[in-house]
């Protein structure tokens, strides 16, 4: 599964994947689906629906109780876990920058794990990619704003040029404006670098605006699987309709306000 061989990102397949927690709670229940290479997929659902658990089975932060996850047809447990993770970009809500390293070292860490020396030019390139000033490389993470930190998180995830990016509520803790700009930036990177992106979010509007395909999860199962357009036009099924109703209603109200009605 060498990333370089793909002009676009790899495909990801879930085959009868399930996981059960103590007390017989089913976190994920018999999920079978394939995400095509190059897709930007949003995984939407209420908290506790199992969407994060499903996502983290791809980079083995969670282990499925049954079934199998594979990337480009190769089971994820066929390689040592640290090697698997080095080929997958991972961005999550709490960011997890290393507080004892300057921003530049944080960004370059995946390269260091590959045995490369610190490369100032490469770090500058990565900071450009996420639209951060290069001067930030020398700062410590605690001197950055929340939005800047998550941009650093994205830059770190992209450093080793992975073709598959997993994002777990990546913009959950950011203010709406930062959220919107960062969302657009990520989508732009997805297109420019030809990635496969799976993003977990509880915000249907965000999912509709960024993704090519939306998967809705409830009680561990996929209850809807449709493009944003189909979702908005009622082809996603009952659960999807309820979820879509809120942003659609808000959008209508906003445009009415705008028209002065």
């Amino acid at each position: 599964m060498p990333a370089q061989s793909h002009p676009r990102g790899p495909s990801v397949a879930f085959d009868g994947v399930g996981k059960r927690y103590a007390g017989d709670v089913r976190a994920v229940d018999g999920v079978t689906l394939t995400i095509a290479g190059g897709e930007f997929v949003a995984l939407v659902g209420a908290s506790g629906s199992g969407k994060s658990t499903l996502l983290k089975m791809v980079n083995r932060l969670h282990k499925p109780g049954e079934g199998r996850v594979s990337i480009d047809g190769e089971p994820v447990d066929s390689v040592p876990v640290h090697l698997l993770r080095r080929r997958i970009g991972y961005v999550f809500q709490n960011i997890g920058l290393f507080p004892h390293m300057p921003v530049g070292e944080n960004v370059a860490l995946p390269l260091r794990l590959r045995g490369e020396r610190y490369d100032e030019a490469r770090v500058a390139e990565l900071l450009d990619l996420v639209e951060l000033p290069r001067a930030l490389a020398a700062r410590m993470p605690d001197a950055l704003s929340g939005g800047q930190r998550q941009r650093v998180g994205v830059a770190r995830a992209l450093a080793a040029e992975p073709k598959l990016i997993l994002m777990d509520e990546p913009f959950g803790a950011l203010d709406p404006l930062t959220r919107d700009t960062l969302g657009r930036a990520v989508r732009k990177l997805h297109d420019r670098l030809g990635l496969t992106t799976i993003m977990v979010t509880h915000d249907m509007a965000e999912a509709l605006l960024l993704a090519d395909r939306i998967l809705v999860m409830a009680a561990g199962e996929i209850v809807a699987d449709a493009s944003p357009h189909d979702m908005l036009t009622g082809k996603g099924g009952a659960v999807a309709d309820t979820l879509v109703a809120v942003p659609r209603e808000q959008a209508h109200l906003l445009s009415r306000l705008e028209r002065g009605e």
């Binding site: 932060l61 993770r85 999550f92 709490n94």
Partner: protein
């Protein structure tokens, strides 16, 4: 005053080496345990529980426990493990240093932001990379705070290593306490407190440097510490002529300090380099001699007869001395050179007026009245077989029995806090305080001739033995009493043990 501080540099060097070695050993044990404990809560409960348990044992007791433990181990291994001195001190203090390091380390590791750990896993670090690149740098400042606490504890507790025969600043404190030489006590306290403060300040500097990622500051602080250890190591490095170095042992009271100096003076004159190991407990000192940790000391025949040999009968004094000599050579290769000429027996004593009023002259008279009286003893007596033998012979039943350091025992009877004391017959304070010594008509207490004992290593060293032989039979009890009183009094005429030894040498014609 100057004399007290003259001994500080040497003992300070020993103190630094012992503390540093114990702290480093403690670290070496604590660090892997810390990592293991942080990964598994069950292990953490076990290790932290064990370390806390160790902490509840008084440091003095922990040191003392290592003596029989190492003795047993040495026996199982066929000898060769020193049970006294550096090794037991090192082990006990290292165990003592575990808790603060372990506790801070485990707390630090388990309180790292979970997001940071998730990120470390997410970018594909192996467990080892996560430890070195992320966890270690984040936990080091917290760990350093623990190391700092451990260092201060270790330096303080190391003063107790004196009791197992390891030279350290405690030598000054213990010797000062026994002879009421407060200058010595202060010299020991000031030196060890200053050492603790300096080490704490340097480690604090390193800790702050780590917190604020100032590498230069950390390096400077650690370099100063390393320099201190190196300087302390300098005089201790083995020098040539090791077989000319001898160690004179002494138990923890004035008479022993004086006799040790007399022995030392004679050996110095014979060309030996002499070191003193003072304040050793009665039980420990014979073991130290038998294992060549010390080369010579003065014991009392009855002590070995009852304690080491476990005998309960009390034959005439000469028989006991002879019996002890034969037993010591046969069982331990220890040579008894001879008796010094005086006896220092356990002697029950009362205030003179009090004894007259109650009509008590012997232990037999004391027994029926003992219910209304308080006993003060030295620190060991109540645990010794002699006390059991006395109680078997006389139905004594005191209102209370309290153990004191010898000087304080005399204060207790002087002030009326105690009515009877387990005095020493060669003690100058008996006559000075006007005490009446009670007779022992049933011969429960054996003879206590002062005897010169030599280690197996020196038993056949003719020059060594010849240097000491003139002491045999040359010290009468009167002279010993007066010398003892020079050291044991606590007024302006108080003299150092060395001065008293020189006086006694003149008095007995051992030196011109």
């Amino acid at each position: 005053m100057n004399q007290a501080f003259a001994r500080v540099p040497d003992l300070l060097a020993q103190h630094i080496l012992l503390s540093a070695a114990a702290l480093l050993l403690g670290l070496a044990i604590a660090l892997p345990l810390t990592i293991w404990s942080a990964r598994r809560p069950a292990v953490a409960r076990l290790t932290l529980g064990f370390a806390s348990l160790i902490q509840t044992i008084p440091a003095l007791a922990l040191l003392a426990l290592f003596y029989p433990l190492l003795l047993l181990l040495s026996g199982l291994m066929g000898g060769g493990i020193p049970a006294l001195g550096f090794l037991p001190s090192l082990l006990a203090l290292a165990l003592y240093a575990l808790l603060p390091i372990l506790r801070n380390g485990v707390t630090g590791l388990t309180h790292i932001d979970p997001a940071v750990i998730e990120a470390a896993d997410g970018v594909g670090m192996t467990a080892r990379q996560r430890l070195w690149m992320v966890e270690a740098p984040l936990v080091v400042p917290v760990l350093m705070a623990g190391i700092r606490t451990a260092a201060v504890w270790t330096i303080g507790a190391a003063t107790l290593a004196t009791t197992v025969g390891q030279p350290c600043l405690g030598d000054l404190i213990f010797a000062g306490l026994q002879t009421q030489n407060w200058t010595l006590v202060i010299a020991g306290c000031v030196a060890s407190a200053a050492l603790a403060l300096i080490v704490d300040a340097l480690l604090g500097l390193a800790e702050r440097g780590l917190r604020h990622r100032r590498k230069g500051q950390v390096r400077a602080a650690l370099a100063l510490l390393a320099l201190g250890i190196a300087v302390a190591l300098w005089p201790v490095l083995p020098t040539s002529g090791a077989d000319k170095r001898v160690v004179v042992g002494a138990k923890g009271f004035g008479e022993q300090y004086i006799l040790a100096r007399m022995i030392g003076h004679r050996l110095e004159k014979a060309g030996y380099t002499v070191a003193y190991r003072e304040g050793l407990g009665s039980a420990v000192v014979f073991g130290a001699l038998a294992s060549d940790d010390i080369d010579v000391y003065v014991d009392y025949s009855g002590t070995i007869w009852t304690n080491q040999m476990g005998r309960t009968e009390t034959p005439p004094r000469e028989t006991i001395v002879k019996g002890v000599g034969q037993w010591a050579m046969a069982r331990h290769g220890v040579r008894l050179i001879g008796a010094l000429g005086f006896e220092n027996s356990y002697a029950f004593a009362m205030r003179g007026a009090d004894a007259k009023r109650r009509g008590i002259t012997t232990l037999a008279d004391l027994a029926p009245q003992s219910r209304q009286m308080n006993l003060a003893s030295d620190l060991e007596f109540l645990e010794r077989p002699e006390w059991a033998a006395v109680k078997r012979a006389y139905p004594l039943n005191f209102k209370s029995a309290q153990a004191y350091a010898p000087s304080f025992m005399y204060h207790a009877i002087e002030s009326g806090k105690a009515d009877v004391i387990s005095a020493f017959s060669s003690d100058g304070r008996i006559s000075k305080l006007g005490l009446t010594v009670l007779g022992d008509p049933r011969h429960a207490i054996p003879g206590y001739d002062a005897i010169l004992m030599v280690s197996p290593r020196r038993a056949d060293d003719t020059r060594f033995v010849a240097a000491l032989r003139p002491l045999v039979g040359h010290i009468p009890v009167d002279a010993m009493r007066r010398a003892n009183y020079m050291v044991d009094r606590d007024d302006a005429q108080k003299k150092s043990a060395d001065t008293a030894a020189r006086w006694l040498e003149k008095q007995t014609g051992l030196s011109p």
